[in-house]
Symmetry: C2
Subunit: 635 residues, 2 copies
């Protein structure tokens, strides 16, 4: 039997001082509970998403120093923790100092494991470079070390031997991705077991929340554990970390699997905790019913991640108040309800900014929303400055200084739409936020972000786009969830949920006449999802082929029969498809480059998990052939 | 003797159709000149910086199809080209289809090289993951393949045998980074030579311009070539490619080195060309004087890169006109002179936007600049709307909907400064640009970007930050270069060059009284450079240590003796240091997340080459000790 503490701590990225302090407190607590071993997450001292801070030598030295302090405190308890490990005598491929993403096993004031390995720590073997991860940029993997040492990597996957209470224990140390080896040629868990046998596997992770990821992890880890017939302890951190453009929440959900692959302990999501267990290494634990993990795809978990991420992000940048442009539409309403829940009504200021195009309907709904939430409210009309701007821009003489000739600018209706959007955000909201000591929010959803249905320096501005990883249908789900489960009353007026989505920037977008956005969310949400969220990203070629085959709705996941009701001819379908593809790969890219950080929940969020270049739109050879064929057939 | 054509082509990223067309034209031209071999750059069919477009199966299939067309056209000429190579039976580490960054050698309609290698192409061995590169995210390296096949990677570095004109030739194929192996455990050129001997090395590259890079390449490649005593042909592309946040120019500068490492052919920079040579493989070429490469660190090459990059970026997004906010200061003046040179004066509209804080001096200088350039000019004052905004924001009742109480916002002088900046960019310039069918420029320099000395949705906005990779001292160099060398007359008035840099957002920033920016460029340019541009990034600990040791100016490169004249006590020095460090790692990160794309020229530009997280500021242990020591000593 082994007394193990799972230290599911909040890691503050880039603050080894604060993280070490947290770790000391947890070690002390584990000690008081007579634990023999405490396990911290991956990169528990420095944090994981630090951008190029890894290139600061002085920062690395601090991580080493704080790590040393942790090692020294391991007198009577075995401490397993993640940290950056330097080999100052070697370099990475980029010529900078050699850095490993490492797992340290400290006991009796010393590091273990260099009896059968070149270093007194273990090195991450499989380094993710997909999604938001950049491991190869910073860390030298065990695979590279094997090449350098001219060894087979499997030879290097050696367990760490530790003597606790006069018993010898062989530990198999895995770092995060090492446990997700399905697509890799190297299988760390198998190699470790062959070089053992291993008594206990430990996987220290720093793994962000993603819809459906824990479900998948439990399937994969259970299957692996069953194969090697050895228990596994998985420890993940909480808190938030970001890559600039994209913010990730870490949900913890640390888990203990018995040798049968059953979950015998499941730590709470989005909450720091020290969980102490007595682990029988040789007999089987019984699975208890209380340890069944939640389905992490449901709206309740998504809300938990959003609220947690938003709160922690506000804390991290020191914001206590927000200003929200409240149009009377669904996105700003959900945003207002979310922030009010996090900050309290006194710290949320809703600003309604009507022009002549805004209906009484939405103005009233905006006031009703504020009333329901009990937050601060003000109305600041934009029409006067919009009119002034149209006059000023249209009347100022543009002088050709070579000829002396003068001309004037023509202000089109489209230009006037964008003038309104920028007036609201850049003139009013940004000014109000500064005066109120707040940040103003970006309320854009993922469908809008996909095709750039927003105005730069207008509604696309803000300090955070908390809802930009949710498709419009998820925004509605969230609205209902906020009313029914969080507030337990109708804070978001049902009329807002029922209203046609509209920007109200012209009389062509009148909500009272049922006119609204050009995006037909019940179809386009799913089309856009296929473009950007599918693991193999879909292009017009895939879409058109599925359309031709009559399987489009099934393939992209929207309501059966919907496409035929929207487009009566292939021509209409193709025109729509090409319009959005051009926007997604064109102007929307330019807008996203200047978009606020996005709070990620999905398998692919905009920003660092959707790397993109501002390139020209491309249609494939087969798309063009298929297009011709369908258009010809239709004639 | 081998007749080789170096096809230094412009590659359009993401457009295999257009690139293949370019290649066919070059092949035809080489054929007409009786060439036996034509060499194209790395990734000549798809382009290189494509973000996650690599995850579109349909795109990959097109690249394969276009590659096949090129192969088929190799009937009478050997064609060496770069393309993505798929193995549809295997997967990458991320579970997506296996992709190699490959070099294809086609002759007589067939691919060569699979007699001694698993594939009929060669695979990049060393994949850069530093700076702007993300190779490991997308491509499976030869190093990984070696692990998968359980072979030593050196065994896989086999030359390709080709029979041309009844002679057998052993080709050593390198892809870009393979030639920069100094910091890697694997040395492809040496392994290839040992598995040969090789008659000719070919390095196909897609290598962006960076100040000083060609100088370094020529040193490194010459040294390597000398070691293996074999000639090397380096072919690089032209054009521009981007990673969203950062735009890179590709200068070509394809080079032929003889076996002694001497340069015997040097293709022009920033210009597409087909260079045909007769290469003697066994006798030595004489180095001709005309092939001496330029020093690529001088302002003339920097200007060339900026003008080329700006022009090609405008073309790629279809912009033919720009609007520039002309303040009468140096940054906007240099911007105006640069764009006027590229687009012609009729397509450049300068807008002067005075408030009560703008001096007659700068207003007159702005008009004089426009006059000198002969471009379009207009004046649109902002004071009325700024005053209206201050009134509107300050007078609107902010209602607490719980208590019914009302309050009003206090508009501080700092808030008013930012209102002005946003009014100029978001209200006027964005509107004018839309009406004029143009984009408006961001004129920020690198020092401002470093510490966020700019207003979001204000002077930080724009479609492109063409000068944001230049420190202020380089802006001045460029101003003088534009006057003396490009325009050959004083288009940028000397008074603008002489003027104290100032934002003129308050009476505290009066240029006529010599008051200006809080950034003291002759020192801070170099301090900021140490923070962000040094290969190992410097932190306050390094800076303070150098200050204590009296070697700061020498270490960071500013004028000797300067620091003592600026700061009379350690306290003053430390206050200044901490202020900028906090901004650089704090608010400036938030601003950069929403900044326009930057045109890169330096060894590290903001954006994709300066990955950063919006984290809390950190001061190291030793910094804090040293700080205490110096402050105590000073007392």
């Amino acid at each position: 039997m082994l007394k193990i503490a799972l230290a599911q701590i909040e890691i503050i990225p880039g603050r080894p001082d604060l993280n070490t302090k947290t770790m000391f407190a947890q070690i002390e607590q584990a000690r008081q509970q007579q634990m023999q071993m405490i396990i911290f997450p991956e990169m528990s001292i420095p944090g994981y998403f630090l951008g190029d801070t890894w290139e600061q030598i002085t920062f690395l030295k601090d991580c080493e120093e704080y790590g040393q302090q942790i090692i020294e405190s391991s007198t009577d308890i075995c401490i397993i923790f993640g940290n950056i490990a330097m080999d100052w005598t070697k370099v990475n491929d980029d010529g900078r100092i050699r850095k490993y993403n490492a797992c340290f096993i400290a006991y009796q004031g010393k590091l273990l494991g260099n009896d059968n390995f070149p270093y007194p720590f273990r090195i991450k073997t499989l380094q993710p470079n997909y999604r938001e991860f950049d491991d190869e940029r910073h860390f030298y993997s065990l695979r590279k070390l094997a090449i350098e040492l001219e060894l087979n990597v499997n030879q290097l996957l050696q367990p760490v031997t530790i003597n606790i209470a006069n018993k010898q224990l062989k530990l198999g140390c895995l770092l995060c991705e090492d446990g997700w080896s399905d697509d890799y040629a190297v299988k760390p868990i198998i190699a470790l077991q062959q070089n053992g046998p291993v008594d206990l596997f430990v996987n220290i992770s720093s793994s962000p929340y993603t819809i459906g990821k824990n479900n998948k992890r439990n399937r994969i880890f259970s299957a692996q554990v069953t194969k090697v017939n050895t228990p596994l302890v998985y420890v993940n951190n909480t808190g938030i970390q970001n890559n600039g453009k994209t913010i990730y929440t870490f949900d913890g959900c640390s888990t203990v699997y018995n040798r049968k692959g059953e979950i015998i302990e499941y730590c709470p999501g989005f909450s720091s905790s020290l969980t102490c267990i007595d682990l029988h290494l040789t007999t089987d634990h019984v699975k208890s019913s209380s340890t069944t993990p939640n389905d992490d795809r449901n709206i309740s978990t998504i809300y938990q991640s959003l609220a947690y991420g938003t709160k922690y992000f506000l804390d991290s940048i020191g914001l206590k108040k927000v200003v929200i442009g409240a149009s009377g539409g669904i996105d700003s309403a959900v945003s207002a309800a979310l922030y009010t829940q996090i900050l309290g009504p006194d710290n949320v200021l809703l600003v309604n900014m009507p022009s002549i195009y805004n209906s009484k309907t939405t103005q009233n709904l905006s006031a009703k929303l504020a009333q329901n939430l009990g937050c601060l409210y003000t109305i600041m009309p934009i029409q006067e400055v919009v009119d002034y701007t149209i006059q000023q821009l249209g009347n100022a003489p543009i002088v050709d200084l070579k000829s002396g000739k003068e001309q004037q600018l023509k202000i089109s209706p489209f230009v006037i739409e964008n003038i309104q959007a920028r007036d609201r955000s850049s003139r009013i909201l940004a000014g109000v936020a500064a005066a109120f000591g707040a940040g103003f929010t970006c309320n854009a959803n993922k469908s809008e972000m996909t095709v750039g249905y927003s105005t730069l320096y207008g509604d696309q501005g803000g300090f955070l786009a908390a809802l930009s990883d949710l498709w419009k249908y998820q925004i509605y789900e969230l609205a209902i969830f906020l009313n029914t489960t969080i507030y337990k009353k109708e804070v978001i007026p049902q009329e807002i949920i029922n209203l046609v989505p509209s920007a109200e920037l012209s009389f062509e977008q009148s909500v009272d006449e049922g006119k609204g956005d050009p995006i037909i969310y019940p179809y386009h949400d799913y089309l856009f999802k296929a473009f950007m969220e599918h693991w193999n990203r879909r292009t017009p070629e895939d879409i058109l082929l599925w359309y031709e085959q009559g399987v489009l709705e099934e393939k992209i996941g929207c309501q059966p029969g919907l496409v035929a009701t929207l487009f009566s001819t292939p021509d209409e379908f193709i025109t729509d498809l090409e319009k959005w593809w051009k926007l997604y790969t064109g102007m929307a890219v330019a807008k996203r480059i200047q978009a606020p950080p996005v709070l990620a929940v999905s398998r692919r969020a905009y920003g660092f998990d959707h790397r993109e270049a501002q390139n020209r739109t491309y249609f494939t050879i087969n798309y063009q052939k298929l297009r011709e064929k369908l258009l010809l057939k239709a004639k």
